[in-house]
Symmetry: C2
Subunit: 319 residues, 2 copies
């Protein structure tokens, strides 16, 4: 879009004579207040990166951790690592284009705090019944199929959302059904050694490219970046294998990683996500599947699950 | 993956006792020489960006233009704009995270060279028969369905590849079937004003995030970045609406844009892509659908079309 058309579009959207259908973002923003769910402070991880070369401003990345019981063992470890200030002074060591930005202890020698849990590959998925017991509003996974009958996912037979996160499920009946979190742009996962290692949570990565869904059920997904993902996605790419930086000086230093609940009130970020069990959600999904005129003339009639991001917005501290 | 596991993996892959299946990349590299198709020099567009702040090295982006007859009107215009050196001194004006980096004349006042063609929305798709007449090796679009019967695309009923580019088609019989190029990571498209404008090709963007397939059939796709996409994807994001830079000084200057065929021989890049009608291609696709141990334990059994990029490699000038 040109600057001129952008301005024209903005003018149209703001004008009293606007008859174009609302955009997905406008639909989300018009949801009633009770459909915006505040994210608890102990489910927000705040990572601060040292300023870029020649700059003085610290760079902030905010990660929404998966709510219980999703990836529970790893999330518990991450809370412990943050409480121990374990990441302070570590760095972003790998940035591979169209894939991931990864951070942790480049020396691989920093001792981990005591009490971390050990998980297995079985923990990459969880029983649907466990999830249903934790959330009375759990969406039926048949929502994977849009109304026109076209599959909304190539990788899994069914898709749903749980407290702001997309999940895939198998096609088994409820009693034996398994569900698992998936990799979309901005998803945060747990680096690991070769299987059967499943990682502790000390080494993390964020997806900065097309959804690498082949990682689903092979790596733990523990959350998603909801603010400042551009601080990771715009970092210089590493020139070594897999995007590792070849020189230590190329790494970006991590000043601190804290749970928002451990920050002073004045520094604590506040975010909310659009409920996926409210009345607005199906309208938002439909709008993502069929984008609005006047810019779009040919509606797609479908959208893949990673092209239906759950909306998030910053909230005033006192809301 | 940790550094240690990376090194372990590389050691394993190089060792004589390696019994792990080959990766998709290894399969592609092992293809016979005649399955690597040299890209003609007049189908390569070379964009040079001014060095980054504090750097002295120019940044090169190489775009593979779509072969005839795909998006033919826009590609013809782009060749004419490049021959006129029209982009020299223009800039990258918009970088929106998880979406696009866009370039052209920020003033929107630079006169266009004479003789540019005008296209309509009907040109976003083309008749299958036109395509088949141009390529005797055209793949049947039933290749959209992997062997397990799961759809390989959410957006279109059928997928195929044409001379290195993924295409979608409708489900109509051959006589009335339409095909169209699609938006994946790295795809290059034509910026435009509101419909019915279809753009001239003077304003271009590259996809730097999750495949925005909702743009398919709404905007012309004219090629893909095959080298240096990180020069665009790692640019600072614009802080204005839609990722436009708010200050002119934030823009990245384009030093030149040339067809490789117009560059001196010594500066001309040489690239080849893996044939999508050779014996190696189905093996590559299968490996993308089911990634290899020992890192992957749970094969996906599927891959979406944008997660099956057509491999490209630099070639020696004298090959």
């Amino acid at each position: 879009m040109s600057l001129a058309s952008l301005l024209a579009l903005l003018a149209t959207a703001a004008g009293p004579a606007d008859t174009s259908p609302p955009s997905p973002g406008q639909i989300a923003q018009s949801a009633p207040a009770d459909e915006w769910i505040a994210i608890p402070a102990d489910e927000l991880l705040v990572m601060t990166l040292a300023p870029a070369a020649g700059q003085t401003k610290a760079r902030r990345v905010v990660i929404q951790l998966m709510p219980s019981p999703l990836s529970g063992g790893w999330v518990a470890n991450i809370r412990r690592l943050a409480a121990a200030h374990w990441w302070d002074g570590t760095s972003v060591n790998r940035v591979q284009d169209n894939y991931v930005a990864q951070w942790g202890d480049a020396t691989e020698k920093k001792p981990l705090p005591p009490g971390l849990r050990a998980m297995t590959a079985g923990d990459y998925t969880l029983a649907w019944r466990t999830l249903a017991a934790a959330s009375p509003n759990l969406l039926d996974p048949v929502t994977a199929r849009p109304t026109d009958g076209r599959l909304a996912d190539v990788y899994a037979p069914r898709i749903t959302w749980y407290r702001g996160f997309p999940l895939a499920t198998d096609a088994a009946p409820v009693a034996s059904r398994r569900a698992w979190p998936i990799h979309c742009y901005g998803s945060v996962g747990v680096g690991r050694n070769l299987a059967p290692d499943t990682g502790s949570g000390a080494e993390l990565y964020a997806v900065i490219g097309h959804a690498p869904r082949h990682l689903d059920r092979n790596i733990a997904v523990i959350g998603r970046v909801i603010d400042g993902v551009e601080q990771l996605s715009s970092l210089p790419r590493g020139t070594g294998d897999l995007g590792f930086y070849e020189q230590p000086a190329e790494r970006t230093t991590i000043t601190s990683v804290r749970l928002a609940s451990e920050l002073p009130a004045a520094e604590r970020p506040h975010f909310a996500y659009l409920s996926t069990s409210g009345a607005t959600w199906p309208r938002y999904v439909a709008a993502r599947q069929n984008r609005e005129p006047p810019f779009f003339e040919q509606p797609a009639g479908a959208a893949d699950v990673c092209n239906i991001p759950v909306p998030v917005r910053a909230e005033p501290a006192n809301r």
